[in-house]
Symmetry: C2
Subunit: 332 residues, 2 copies
Amino acid sequence: MADVAALAGVSKATVSRVLSGAPGVSEETRRRIKALVKDLSYVVSPDASRLSRGSTGRIAVVMPHTTSWFYGAVLAGVLSVLRAEGLDALVYQVADGTESRTFFADLPVQRRVDAVIVVAFPVTEHERRQLDLLGMPVVVAGGALEHHAHVRIDDTTAARQAVTHLIRSGHERIAMINAAVTREWPYAPPADRLDGYRTALEDAGLTVDPRLVVDLPWSGTMGADGMDRLLSLDRPPTAVFGFCDEVALGALRSLRRAGVSVPRTVSVIGIDDHPLAELCDLTTVRQPAEQQGARSAHLALDLLGGAPTGELHVTLPTHLVIRATTGPPEDS
Amino acid sequence: MADVAALAGVSKATVSRVLSGAPGVSEETRRRIKALVKDLSYVVSPDASRLSRGSTGRIAVVMPHTTSWFYGAVLAGVLSVLRAEGLDALVYQVADGTESRTFFADLPVQRRVDAVIVVAFPVTEHERRQLDLLGMPVVVAGGALEHHAHVRIDDTTAARQAVTHLIRSGHERIAMINAAVTREWPYAPPADRLDGYRTALEDAGLTVDPRLVVDLPWSGTMGADGMDRLLSLDRPPTAVFGFCDEVALGALRSLRRAGVSVPRTVSVIGIDDHPLAELCDLTTVRQPAEQQGARSAHLALDLLGGAPTGELHVTLPTHLVIRATTGPPEDS
DNA sequence: CTGTTAGCGCCTTCAT
DNA sequence: ATGAAGGCGCTAACAG
């Protein structure tokens, strides 16, 4: 910048003003400096700028992993909003317990970012306190956290929408394959979807048969495993509600391999509307993943702006998407 | 840091030495300062540190989108390596033509990072030149770029593995549903997979029937659309090779809806080994996405270290994964 | 409107 | 082994 100033015959201050669009520079010198800057293809050093300005111009996105659709979509939403605002995103992947421990112990985001967006992450009480003493805005996408802004869906409602659809189709023996929430697959509050399943049944005057609820730790094939278990029952269910689409797709595999007709003999429904759900003709409840990311980013920006103008706790709606894996039960 | 120095009764220089692990400090003062630092839970400002040191401690990851499995997996690989090295990742999503244009015009990564990892991105000649004048290491993951390091698979070979598997199973009328590469879905070199398809057929003494090659611009359902087209042929193929798993899964949907038995009447194969391929029992050729990310990150680190010790052009192997969507043709 | 003067927080010679 | 001083590149008061 010193060079530019010298070549333009002005002071660094003036160049700085031009580059930051600050007022108080004559149109003419402004034009001259701009031309020179373009000529030299000069760009300011954000770090130096931030050092003296105070803010980093970056925000951290913390997620357990980046591979599955949900996290990718949330990230996409965050990025598109931040880019528009000229902010950079630092992505931190905090997968297993070890990484989580060191992350919250070292808090590597300290002094590196102006705000943190935590994506669908089960935060312990201790970790929450760590987050608090970070002293910067924290917003949660796809979950909730005491004392902090968040954007999410209502998991209980989503589950009810799914199960109610099955009930309305005439089903009475409805099973649920539930994912025990772990560090590796934490993307919904532990019990919300199960609660939705239960209340939907109860509201319809149906009883909850504990044998029809399969609880498994997350794995790529847990949906298939869960379905196998259900198929080995004396009286298998006529419909299955999967914790999420990936679980439901796993259930479909077991049914296909077992030669069970879908939806004639067994109906299957999930939650998410994963892109591949469409290709598998899976009935599901859609949740807006990208929007959750985008709204979180907006919330973070608001918080940064100092004026939390809107609501700090956003719940986005979910919608039933009926495809080909659900239908009336065989004997009805 | 000034505070720490004052409280410890030493100079900032000493504190700095301790914090950066530099030699020339007595064990005793070192211990004392460390304790104090922990007490105050003080951390250095990376920005300030970098300002005076010169490097940013960050590297940029540029990808067309973050939603699909491949990109997420590559990102995961990159992140795990960088984290181990204490480097931060700035993620840039450059989706459509407009974003791409502004990205390469403004080069927002300038002065913000020490190196750039470009993920599976079709770079034009002009853009390549822009990248060159960035003056920092650029490595390509999942693709190749003149003058730059890269990590990828051999797409031609992968396609040959897939098609050869079909040929060995006895198929002769083998179709390909090819994704016309676009900005939105650029994750393989335009013609490589098609070439692999062709040479595999030719090597087996089979003729390439142009009617069996469907070229469609990328979309979520292009696999299904392509399959519909193939099914409407006078003599439909007995096997279909999809550009990638998502295309193959789309083909499966069309076959299922049309009541065509798989693999009895038509076999289907893809490339990727997408996590859901397993749930759909899809035969495919696996490519190591996460590894491509990890290796790219290592390459970037090497380049940063100044000593490009290893090979700068890495090609990772792919493997056939046989599942349930391929088998011998009906009449053989 | 423009230039001068201080820092921002840290690292790095060079002395001591 | 430690301290003092200068500078990294830029912005933010103040002056003019």
